[in-house]
């Protein structure tokens, strides 16, 4: 069988670059199809962009994903509802708390216990989510700087993010993949030193943000790379399902925290930053302003924190042991162990049953959404009445937003593709799940 090529082409899927360039110069091909990624430092992980170039102009941009598919949704069907948090926290690994909250809200709605989550647990959830919003936006900015060649932005962004991760480590024991939010509440209470540490952070962070803004806000190079680049207006956002900072940078003050409050967001005072620039610079400004609002919310969280339970008062759902981190760094609970091993056979049976079998969730389905750092993160959970999820599906904002690449890049230059993708802030762990 022979194939006839309809047009001349230059294959640059590998080989010696000099030979490729020579061949391209000698040949008659006027189009160049460049395969950018999936291993490329400017593609946010394993994103693959297939760009058709006419000189420097991108005439067609297509996106290939799936290189980080880990089957998290399928795996949750083989674990208990509580174990699900351990999986979903690993999806979009830059915003683990949002993944956990979206999932737990869905499980709680299925259980019908949404109104019974203790106040303190809700405040801790909001606190953790807003800290996570800051760390996620800082990475968005840091990688953005790196991809445009500004390594100072990168080192600064990652340095400030460490401040947040230190707090996460103090509270949950882990910097990422916390599995801290659980159906019914949170895994454990804040340590005594947490409030002081967060207050230090609240004092320090505005200065750090100021430094970052001084570097970028009016930087002529930055402005040239971001102003009027990767335009996506409101109707484009609506059609493509784009939410979050991207939508707010196209002039619509849509924020689920205000529109459909969850976890008690209606009690907090904060503004929804909006810009009508529709470009990469507007998205940057919205993200910075959101971080400042997050600091406001965190401050209010500290004021709202009253002593109280952090897990629902229901032994059939809440984890039986109140674990504390011992000197060896492992979770332990001497009092609980003394109780189940020494005094109560029923408590031992209960502990064994709820840890190995888990709780049953009444049949039905629920969709809950949170305003994550990147946009609407939705969780569609289906139960058949058993102790394991029947189906868990995540509407990840990064997955949806990557569809906008073609709309934002076609007709622009190759260099602007980098800025466009970076302004989407996609995380492939969330895209591919």
């Amino acid at each position: 069988m022979s194939t006839t090529s309809t047009e001349a082409y230059v294959d640059i899927s590998g080989g010696d670059w000099e030979e490729v360039v020579r061949e391209a110069q000698q040949g008659s091909a006027d189009r160049l199809v460049v395969n950018m990624g999936p291993q490329h430092p400017s593609t946010h992980g394993v994103l693959r962009l297939i760009l058709t170039l006419d000189g420097e102009t991108v005439t067609e941009a297509r996106v290939g994903i799936g290189y980080l598919h880990t089957g998290i949704e399928k795996n949750t069907e083989y674990r208990t509802w509580t174990q699900g948090t351990t999986f979903v926290t690993r999806m979009d690994y830059l915003m683990p708390i949002f993944n956990e909250v979206a999932y737990c809200l869905a499980v709680e709605r299925l259980l019908g216990i949404s109104d019974r989550i203790p106040e303190r647990a809700n405040v801790i959830r909001v606190l953790m989510m807003e800290l996570n919003r800051i760390s996620s936006h800082l990475v968005a900015m840091a990688t953005f700087g790196m991809e445009l060649g500004a390594t100072t932005i990168m080192t600064n962004g990652f340095r400030e993010r460490e401040l947040v991760l230190d707090i996460f480590e103090l509270i949950t024991g882990l910097r990422m993949n916390h599995a801290y939010i659980r159906p019914g509440g949170v895994a454990q209470d804040l340590p005594h030193s947490a409030a002081g540490k967060i207050r230090e952070f609240l004092a320090e962070m505005p200065k750090r943000l100021q430094i970052l803004r001084k570097l970028l806000d009016a930087n002529p190079v930055y402005l040239q790379r971001t102003r009027d680049v990767a335009h996506l207006d409101l109707s484009g956002c609506m059609a493509l399902g784009v939410t979050g900072p991207m939508l707010r940078a196209s002039g619509l003050a849509w924020d689920l925290r205000k529109a459909k409050p969850y976890c008690g967001y209606e009690n907090y005072e904060f503004d929804v930053p909006v810009s009508d620039g529709c470009d990469v610079y507007a998205r940057y400004r919205v993200r910075v302003a959101e971080m400042e609002q997050s600091l406001r919310i965190i401050e209010q969280c500290l004021d709202f924190l009253e002593p109280g339970p952090i897990m629902i008062d229901d032994a059939k759902i809440g984890w039986p042991a109140k674990l504390a981190i011992g000197s060896d760094g492992m979770g332990n609970s001497p009092d609980h162990i003394a109780h189940i091993m020494g005094t109560s056979m029923e408590a031992l049976i209960h502990h064994f049953k709820i840890v190995t079998e888990g709780f049953r969730v009444p049949p039905g389905q629920a969709y809950t959404a949170v305003e994550s750092a990147k946009g609407e993160l939705g969780c569609h959970a289906v139960s058949d009445g058993g102790p394991r999820p029947y189906r868990v599906h995540f509407r990840d904002p990064s997955f949806t937003h990557l569809q906008a690449v073609a709309a934002m890049c076609e007709g622009g230059t190759v260099a602007d593709v980098i800025a466009a993708v970076a302004s989407l802030d996609p995380v492939m762990g969330g895209v591919d799940r």
Partner: protein
């Protein structure tokens, strides 16, 4: 015992208190679980091994859909009325397009007949009384026991104008896994429908390029279906062999 001896309390022996046809519906529902405690062999001396647990009969809600005690349900009747009016204007009817409506856990689900889906989606987006501008994608669910309706596609729609949220559910048989695409109405569903095709094998007719999106192009099967095994290898930990997750004891 005369009625006045109840002192005003309802007579529990009366026929009027029996849930209508509930027992019959329940007996016709598919078996979702057999046995208890995970014991499958002769080791079960409890007798619970012979237990049959039947699933819920399909829910169906009647008007009014709004629950006066739940403010989150306040707009459900408005949406249903507006959809009914809008479909009538288009020459279709609510009863033809919508199989049933379910209100559960403060969420409303319209079970849409698959041939009516594009029209319903278009009406939901464009009618000023409805204006569901945002589609949050498709989520597939596989119910092997739901004969001739094995594959479900679940759509969540959000109206920014009215700040509302609804769910559409469309079912199709495994033997004929076709559902019309709504990419023409909601372009955002392009990738979501590809994902649902990839994972469940639902063919969305009219999709511009229905190809696999997460799995490799030459992959066999659709991994999120219930008949597709999870796979896995046993792990050894301190001399003990831990079986892969799908072979561990299941309490389900």
């Amino acid at each position: 015992m005369s009625p006045n001896e109840h002192e005003g309390k309802p007579n529990l022996n009366g026929d009027e208190n029996l849930p209508e046809k509930a027992g019959e519906e329940r007996l016709n529902s598919p078996v979702v679980r057999k046995g208890m405690f995970g014991a499958k062999t002769s080791g079960d001396t409890s007798g619970y091994g012979g237990l049959f647990v039947r699933g819920q009969p399909p829910l169906s809600s009647q008007r009014p859909f709004a629950d006066p005690d739940d403010p989150a349900t306040a707009y459900f009747d408005d949406v249903a009325d507006a959809l009914e009016r809008s479909l009538a204007e288009a020459g279709s009817s609510f009863g033809e397009a919508i199989e049933r409506v379910v209100v559960d856990r403060s969420e409303i689900t319209f079970h849409v007949r698959r041939e009516a889906l594009p029209e319903v989606a278009r009406r939901l987006r464009d009618d000023p009384q409805l204006r569901f501008e945002l589609c949050m994608g498709v989520s597939g669910v596989h119910y092997p026991a739901d004969t001739d309706r094995e594959l479900h596609a679940v759509y969540h729609l959000r109206s920014i104008t009215h700040n509302r949220q609804i769910r559409l559910e469309v079912a199709c048989p495994d033997a004929d896994p076709h559902i019309p695409s709504i990419v023409a109405t909601y372009p955002t569903n392009d990738w979501h429908e590809r994902e649902t095709w990839d994972f469940f094998g639902i063919i969305f007719d009219g999709h511009p390029a229905l190809t696999r999106i997460q799995m490799p192009d030459d992959w066999d099967g659709h991994p999120q279906r219930k008949d597709y095994p999870l796979g896995g290898i046993p792990v050894e930990y301190r001399g003990a062999r831990v079986p892969p997750p799908d072979e561990r004891r299941s309490y389900a």
